[in-house]
């Protein structure tokens, strides 16, 4: 009797539990779907940020690969260039080329008489136009005395206007171009004298105050020299350090400290390494400021932990059987490591090294500390020349107020990203094709 009531009770309870569960099921399923959706939305948001970043930069950058040129009929007037009739190269190199462009512009727009207006007419041309004329004449001295149609770069404001980045419709006071300047440009465009061409200057010249003259070649060379120093130091030291810690070091307090230390160094803010470089390499050792040598040293210290950690895990993944086999046939420990373990771990080590170098290439904060942020026009030619690097060049241009630097900054970023993607792609390729799994 009592047994039966028990059963009844439990089955009653079973039905009640069932009902409770059933009542909540709808809510729980909705919660499940919501939760899953949150996760998906978050991933989409993350990827959306990535897209926005890339889209934004590409949208700003693409126009920088073209530069506006204007065709002028330039007379290489002997009375201007060579009034004393000396005909030697040194004399021609220092001649008054701006006078030539001023004359041909004046000939084209005879109605401009006012001095101020004349000045703004001449300002349509880039200050680099004179250098271009000098280059043309130096290449072909026979042009002296003749008239030739020559394509010359225009000022960055004109460039912006032609590219449609200066709004013609806003009031004259709000934009950088006067109405009459726009009228001149429209006249030039109508006569087919304005053309957009590939911006070679951007890839071949150093920094400049004038956007249309500025290029990334100097910064690229600076980056190259810095990376050479970083690679030449951090690769051997990092790999040697990893070999010692992984293959030879006894497990004791000391190696434990080294290990914790390396892991911590990998997470120290990069700017602190800049402080170290400033205090030690520049103030204490007296190495030249702003040089790729010091930059490379600082970046070496910064990338070492990354390389060591990657190299250690590559060594770890080589199975002990390899070592035992080598030791078994009489190889010394050193021979075992250098003849057998190291070659097998090399692809993994190189992958880590390339990723570390890519990080070094994109780094700018510590280099600001050691003076690689100076305005440097010359392309560096050695490890001790003052120079800047690509990311710092981006920072410098991003700070400039000229409208023309916005697109150039974006273009420089694209170049930097292209290098980084290539390096990381190489790392992925190495990992996929050469890394062995046991």
């Amino acid at each position: 009797m009592s047994n039966r009531t028990e059963e009844n009770k439990s089955s009653n309870q079973g039905i009640r539990t069932h009902e409770i569960v059933k009542a909540g099921l709808h809510r729980r399923r909705a919660a499940e779907i919501r939760f899953k959706a949150y996760g998906f939305i978050c991933i989409v948001a993350g990827l959306g940020f990535l897209m926005a970043l890339f889209g934004n930069i590409i949208a700003h950058a693409w126009s920088a690969f073209e530069q506006t040129y204007v065709a002028l009929d330039v007379t290489f007037d002997e009375s201007v260039l060579d009034p004393e009739g000396k005909h030697d190269a040194a004399n021609l190199a220092s001649a008054d080329y701006p006078a030539l462009t001023k004359r041909s512009l004046a000939a084209m727009f005879p109605e401009v008489k006012d001095r101020l207006e004349k000045r703004s007419l001449n300002a349509l041309l880039s200050s680099g136009a004179a250098y271009e004329l000098r280059r043309v004449l130096a290449k072909d001295p026979a042009l002296l005395g003749k008239t030739e149609r020559i394509w010359l770069p225009v000022d960055d404001d004109v460039d912006m206007l032609v590219k449609g980045q200066i709004d013609r419709d806003i009031g004259e006071g709000d934009r950088r171009m006067k109405d009459y300047q726009i009228a001149w440009i429209d006249k030039l465009i109508a006569s087919g004298r304005v053309e957009k061409r590939f911006n070679k200057q951007f890839f071949t010249s150093g920094d400049s105050r004038e956007p249309e003259m500025a290029g990334i070649w100097g910064a690229l060379m600076g980056s190259l020299f810095t990376l050479i120093v970083t690679g030449a130091l951090s690769l051997p030291i990092g790999i040697a350090s990893a070999i010692y810690l992984e293959e030879f070091a006894p497990r004791n307090r000391w190696t434990d400290i080294i290990e914790v230390n390396i892991n911590n160094l990998a997470a120290v803010p990069s700017i602190v390494f800049g402080l170290l470089g400033l205090a030690v390499f520049i103030n204490f050792f007296g190495l030249p400021r702003s040089s790729p040598l010091v930059g490379g040293l600082v970046l070496t210290l910064m990338t070492l932990p990354v390389i060591i950690i990657a190299a250690r895990s590559a060594l770890k993944s080589v199975p002990p059987s390899i070592r035992e086999a080598a030791l078994g046939i009489g190889a010394s420990q050193m021979q075992t490591v250098f003849h057998h373990v190291l070659p097998l771990a090399m692809p993994g080590m190189l992958t880590g090294a390339i990723i570390g170098m890519a990080r070094a290439l994109g780094e700018s904060a510590p280099l600001l500390m050691i003076g690689m942020v100076a305005f440097i026009v010359d392309v560096p030619g050695s490890l001790t020349d003052p120079s800047t690097v690509l990311p710092v060049q981006i920072y410098l241009w991003a700070d400039s107020s000229e409208r023309g630097f916005v697109e150039r900054t974006s273009a420089a970023i694209l170049v930097l990203l292209a290098f980084l993607i290539t390096m990381n792609g190489l790392a992925v390729y190495l990992r996929k094709h050469y890394e062995r799994r046991w």
Binding site: F35, P236, N264, I271, P305, G362, A365, L368
Partner: protein, 458 residues
């Protein structure tokens, strides 16, 4: 001779030494290599090391002492008036002379002409002497080593000892780096705290590091109270974490628990690109696009938003650290044993309930470790805040106003002219010390948690 040419020559000589060492060992045993203690190559390496290492040591010592010695000699020839100048002015004079020698900044002043010529001759003589000595030393080393080779000579052990010394030395560099960081930052900070009391620095509410050049200038007494910088850093980092933690964590959960293998293999590397983009790119994006966007948005909504608002810098920094949160969390969620999940399913829990009530609590230490690492990254991040945050030290918690951070101030204090006796420059090192200590503590805690937790399920 250029130093690089000399280095190349030394390498050539050591290659030659390798050759003669190997030849010698073969010659001793009459070609029967098995009679030697070590393989012939090791005798080669042994000889090459003897040729290279002493000469390299000489080269480095010479390079260290060359400039001071030459400068001393040059100062000795100058007239009495220049010799009695202070050390700083002598340095300037030497600079002038060196510049004249290199031909930069135009022609030398006529009165320096003889000195410049003397310096040039000294430099040339020093170079030749060095080259001569180094090359002689290299050859002497090679022939000395060659003469020591005999049948029982333990060349392999010697070479291996040298290599071992190199390996140990390399692994000590990490320690030296830490030591270098601590010492360099500490020394300059102590000099700073001599001038500005440490309590003023840590608890002062006003930051205006500009110091008057002349005593009669107005309004630039210099105040080094770093509290506004700390709160600014905290504000921007908090905004970054508020953005990054939910997005990163939910992404990690979705990738680890829900996503198909194919989706995961595409989305995970794409998300991690965010961590590989140079920070200067984020800074440009924040300053050029995000900040004006937020300002305009705020203006439409009737708020007065600064164009260097903490919100813009924080948002973009948050995007940057999403992968730091997500990839570590992903690792730890994956490390939770399947049996825990199966247990929860058997009790009738749905997948999201399992995740919320079983998986996340189990993975929590690892996730917290990841968040701490991301926080340390946010606090130490420089370029984004340099480009997108303000310079004025405002003591405010309003994310729409401009604040400044520790890293921004370090950069502004150190870019440009540096005088290592003014508190303005030294303050940067004091800030660096605080930054280093704070991130160090965060890292140690995070790495400790991560390490301990990894062991738990292994």
């Amino acid at each position: 001779m250029q130093k690089s040419t000399l280095l190349f020559l030394l390498l050539l000589i050591s290659a030659y030494a390798f050759h003669i060492g190997r030849q010698r060992s073969r010659q001793i045993v009459g070609g029967r290599v098995t009679n030697l203690h070590s393989l012939p190559n090791y005798y080669g390496y042994y000889t090459a090391l003897w040729a290279l290492l002493p000469a390299l040591a000489l080269l480095f010592i010479w390079m260290g002492f060359e400039t001071p010695v030459i400068n001393h000699l040059v100062i000795g020839t100058l007239p009495e008036a220049s010799r009695s100048l202070s050390a700083d002015n002598q340095g300037l004079l030497i600079n002038d002379i060196t510049n004249a020698l290199n031909g930069s900044y135009g022609e030398a002043k006529p009165e320096l002409k003889t000195t410049v010529d003397y310096l040039r001759s000294l430099k040339i003589r020093s170079n030749w002497l060095l080259s001569l000595l180094a090359i002689t030393l290299a050859f002497m080393g090679a022939f000395f080593a060659r003469s020591r080779i005999h049948k029982e000579h333990r060349a392999r052990n010697k070479v291996e000892q040298t290599v071992m010394a190199f390996l140990v030395g390399s692994s000590l560099i990490a320690i030296l780096t830490t030591l270098g960081i601590v010492l360099s930052v500490l020394f300059e900070s102590i000099r700073f705290f001599d001038k500005v009391p440490i309590t003023d620095f840590l608890f002062g509410l006003e930051w205006s590091p500009q110091i008057a050049m002349r005593s009669d200038q107005v309004g630039s007494s210099g105040a080094f109270g770093a509290v506004p910088l700390f709160t600014g850093t905290l504000l921007i980092s908090s905004i970054a974490l508020i953005v990054a933690v939910p997005i990163g964590l939910m992404s990690a959960i979705y990738l680890a628990e829900y996503a198909s293998l194919r989706f995961r293999s595409v989305a995970k590397p794409l998300l991690e690109i965010l961590a590989g983009i140079p920070t200067v790119v984020y800074g440009f994006f924040a300053a050029l696009t995000v900040a004006p966007f937020i300002r305009d948005l705020g203006a439409d909504a009737g708020f007065d938003v600064s164009s260097e608002s903490a919100l813009a810098a924080g948002l973009v920094m948050g995007i940057m650290i999403i992968p730091f949160v997500s990839s570590l969390s992903d690792d730890f969620i994956n490390a939770v044993p399947q049996s825990l999940r199966d247990g929860a399913y058997a009790l009738g829990a749905t997948q999201s309930e399992t995740i919320r009530q079983v998986v996340i609590p189990a993975a929590l230490p690892g996730i917290v470790g990841g968040i701490l690492l991301a926080a340390s990254r946010a606090i130490g991040e420089t370029m984004i805040v340099v480009m997108a945050a303000g310079l004025a030290a405002n003591l405010t918690a309003n994310p729409l106003e401009a604040v400044t951070t520790v890293t921004t101030q370090i950069v502004t204090l150190l870019v440009g002219d540096q005088e290592f006796d003014s508190p303005k420059t030294l303050a940067a090192f004091a800030l660096g010390l605080v930054l280093f200590l704070v991130t160090l503590v965060l890292n140690i805690i995070a790495l400790h948690i991560v390490r301990k937790y990894r062991e738990q399920y292994e």
